[in-house]
């Protein structure tokens, strides 16, 4: 059941992205920006956490989940250490993903070569 929920909610978030790509001519980069900010704002007003509780990875794996993670970290740090937490919590809670992406991408750039244009 868990997997079905993750599949359906995650798939639905991707469909929203697909509709934006097809209907608005937004580049995929802009959609990623939009989704991250949307996830952060939705968590700020308390709407994303219920979705995470319902769908698990279906809500955390798509990019709004990255925004959710950023906002969640900032809010938790604010609770712990006051206003300065707003400046530390976001990146702290997403450090693993960002660092992994930078390190693995760098290693991949060392190993792989660009494919020939067809």
């Amino acid at each position: 059941m868990e997997y079905i929920k993750a599949f359906i909610v995650g798939g639905a978030i991707c469909v929203i992205g697909q509709i934006l790509i097809d209907k608005t001519k937004l580049m995929s980069g802009r959609i990623l920006v939009l989704f991250v900010v949307l996830g952060a704002v939705l968590h700020g007003i308390g709407l994303y956490e219920p979705l995470v509780n319902f769908a698990g990875a279906g809500a955390t794996v798509p990019l709004p989940g990255f925004g959710y993670s950023l906002a969640k970290g900032a809010m938790e740090e604010v609770d712990k250490m006051g206003l300065k937490g707003a400046f530390t919590g976001g990146i702290k809670s997403t450090a693993a993903g960002i660092t992994a992406a930078i390190v693995f991408a760098y290693l991949a750039a060392l190993i792989f070569n660009p494919k020939a244009k067809d």
Partner: protein, 148 residues
């Protein structure tokens, strides 16, 4: 002025007629099942990690690292982009797509050097995502401080 407006209208009409018709229903179905599948795999990874005794937060963090790793390896092997041609947003929106957006230009601009090629171009798409994501998180944190 109105002549320019007319020309612009005509031009966008021409573009619309010439660009390939995208089939929204078909594109959405593809994005749905591929994107959904990536999330279900994420759930599977999380559950496997939890079964080794890690708590929920640790498991989510490790899942993110593993998915980022998979996205990057599959991009390097030229599999992820082929999948992307089929699945569209189904491969763009998951965290694996974020990883893809970092590693693709890193490999592509390797010939421009390791500092201004790989090091700088990595963030062509990830840069804006991190800038706006970070600003949003700070804003949410500040609002939370005053209105909790």
């Amino acid at each position: 002025m109105s002549q320019i407006q007319d020309m612009k209208k005509e031009y966008s009409k021409m573009v619309e007629e010439l660009s390939p018709k995208s089939n929204l229903l078909r594109d959405s179905a593809r994005a749905f099942w591929v994107g959904g599948l990536i999330c279900a795999i994420g759930q599977l990874i999380t559950n496997i990690i939890k079964s080794f005794g890690y708590n929920h937060d640790e498991a989510s963090m490790l899942t993110t690292i593993i998915l980022v790793f998979l996205g990057i390896i599959l991009t390097g092997l030229d599999i992820y982009d082929s999948l992307g041609k089929y699945a569209g947003a189904g491969t763009v929106v998951p965290i694996t797509g974020f990883a893809n957006s970092i590693v693709s230009p890193a490999i592509e601009y390797k010939k421009e050097g390791y500092v201004f090629g790989v090091g700088a171009k990595m963030f062509t798409i990830a840069g804006p995502v991190l800038v706006y994501g970070t600003i949003a998180s700070v804003a949410v944190g500040i609002v939370h401080y005053f209105f909790k």
